[in-house]
């Protein structure tokens, strides 16, 4: 006989409201039914009501954690529709902000994971390092979460020498702190007890269920859309971080190593930063269709645009990474023990407000 236990929408381990109805046999989870809609805002519909320049700031608010990358993908799409060339310096600045966002998102996820298995101290430490990245973003753009520095045709702000020095100093500190924190995450006995061998997703299952981002890379799939070289990633040569075990530990490892990779990327981007205009002026309205893919901290996002020559888009569709990861997440939760559900879910790093928009 099985029991159905609702998990959420208000649950201490979940920062966001999503409900999972867990069908239990004693403590073992037999099946999971997700119940969504608590964060649905009808954002795609609102985007059709506002004009395409206002949409840049609306799209940023799909998700506060990867806000810059959302506005970047949106701008890339409109630029493709209207064939606007982006100046090289703007491309590099976009990479710098995007990678800052990736670091902050990964540190946030690692912290929440630590909180999910009850390691409060580690959570606080990760978030303390994360504040340095927030400071770096605030120093360069003026906003901590909503940077609003990406605009169609380029970027709105430049990074000058003083700001560059500040960002690099902060990165140095973050590197030092996170290296020692990662050691705890990777080697601590009690942490390993909670993550190794829990929530295993095989490579085949990850491929078949269309997992993306660290979830896919933790299962051994070499999939990082940055390799395709959008923005300035072409000149920066990305080596994707891949682990093969497919459990919570492997996914966490991917994030730990990607933080270091992003720090390295920002340094290289600063070293190669070319001099040019910041933005290309443009005229007219978008028309036609475009599809844009972009690698976000949680995986690959897909944007579809259709413009009809007016100042309002006819259709904007966003397929966010967490949406792609939900089938994989349900597979992982099956047959695990009830106390592990929180850890498994947080190890996928779901972002519900992206998923439901």
């Amino acid at each position: 006989m099985s029991t159905i236990v609702p998990f959420g929408p208000q649950h201490p381990v979940l920062p966001e409201p999503i409900q999972l109805c867990l069908e239990l046999e004693d403590e073992r989870v037999v099946s999971v039914i997700p119940v969504v809609g608590y964060v649905h805002r009808g954002l795609e519909k609102i985007a059709e009501k506002k004009d395409f320049i206002q949409d840049t700031y609306l799209i940023e608010r799909i998700c506060g954690i990867c806000s810059f990358m959302h506005s970047m993908s949106y701008c890339m799409g409109i630029e493709e529709l209207m064939s606007i060339p982006v100046p090289p310096r703007a491309l590099y600045l976009r990479v710098i902000w995007a990678e800052l966002h990736r670091i902050h998102s990964h540190l946030l996820a690692l912290g929440l994971l630590a909180d999910a298995f009850g390691f409060e101290n580690l959570f606080m430490q990760y978030w303390k390092s994360r504040e340095r990245i927030m400071d770096a973003m605030e120093c360069t753009t003026g906003g901590r979460v909503m940077l609003s520095s990406c605009c169609i045709g380029g970027v709105r702000r430049d990074i000058d020498e003083n700001q560059k020095k500040f960002v690099l100093d902060q990165l140095k500190e973050v590197e030092k702190e996170v290296t020692s924190l990662n050691r705890t995450m990777m080697e601590d006995y009690s942490v390993k007890q909670r993550t190794v061998g829990i929530g295993v997703l095989s490579k085949e299952a990850a491929y078949a269920q269309g997992a993306v981002g660290p979830t896919a890379r933790g299962s051994g799939l070499v999939m990082d859309h940055r390799m395709s070289g959008y923005a300035a990633y072409r000149e920066l040569a990305i080596e994707p971080v891949v682990e093969t075990a497919g459990d919570c530990y492997a996914r966490t490892m991917v994030r730990c190593r990607e933080v270091m990779q992003s720090i390295d990327l920002i340094r290289r981007a600063f070293a190669q930063l070319p001099d040019s205009e910041l933005k290309t002026p443009f005229k007219g309205n978008p028309s036609g269709e475009a599809v844009i893919r972009c690698e976000q901290p949680r995986g690959e996002v897909l944007y579809y645009f259709r413009g009809n020559g007016t100042d309002k888009l006819e259709r904007l569709r966003v397929r966010t990474p967490t949406f792609a990861n939900i089938p994989a997440m349900l597979t992982m939760v099956q047959n695990c023990q009830l106390p592990d559900v929180g850890v498994i879910i947080i190890s996928v790093d779901p972002c519900v407000s992206c998923t439901e928009r």
Partner: protein, 177 residues
């Protein structure tokens, strides 16, 4: 007892329809850089232990019931702090087809913290302001207005002229229990 509660308010965080921007800033308040605990603010997971409810995000047809339910579970006296412009007016999502509007449509809000998202300092200020209101509620032993049952209806289609729009009923109909 009175003093103790006002000096150590326990906070429950309810994410309604937020974009996460406010949530991560609220969580940042609890971490060492801003450290809400130095004011005795403790973040807890269950509404039954909480004195202050922090709401982020606007309210939609689906989560209005959840918000109301969580509010009713909190012991009285209680204070609601709305973080960001979303729970104040609906914010950037106010045009959404299923968005009812701000949190005030569903629960009585005591403190509004403006910003999109507000800075963590502003959030802390809002919580402390809420704690003061909480102390007042206790000392004057003001009981909270009897809780009313709400019925959620879809927002009326926008009226053509502004005068009619002003006269149109609010999107949330309230009925006495």
């Amino acid at each position: 007892m009175t003093k103790a509660t006002a000096k150590a308010p326990w906070v429950v965080h309810v994410n309604c329809n937020s974009c996460n921007g406010c949530d991560i800033e609220f969580l940042a308040c609890l971490t060492p850089m801003y450290d809400a605990e130095r004011f005795g603010v403790l973040h807890i997971g269950t509404p039954k232990h909480a004195d202050i409810m922090v709401v982020t995000g606007s309210v939609n047809n689906r989560n209005a019931r959840v918000l109301r339910n969580l509010y009713e579970q909190m012991p009285s006296p209680k204070v609601v702090v709305a973080m960001g412009v979303c729970p104040a007016t609906g914010g950037i999502f106010a045009d959404g087809y299923n968005v009812i509007g701000g949190a005030e449509k569903v629960v009585p809000v005591d403190v509004f913290v403006p910003g999109c998202p507000p800075r963590p300092e502003a959030m802390l200020d809002g919580i402390l302001e809420g704690a003061k209101i909480l102390a007042g509620k206790r000392q004057n032993s003001v009981t909270v207005k009897p809780v009313r049952r709400i019925k959620i209806v879809r927002p009326a289609a926008p009226a053509a002229d502004p005068a009619a729009a002003a006269a149109a009923p609010a999107p949330v109909k309230e009925e006495a229990k």
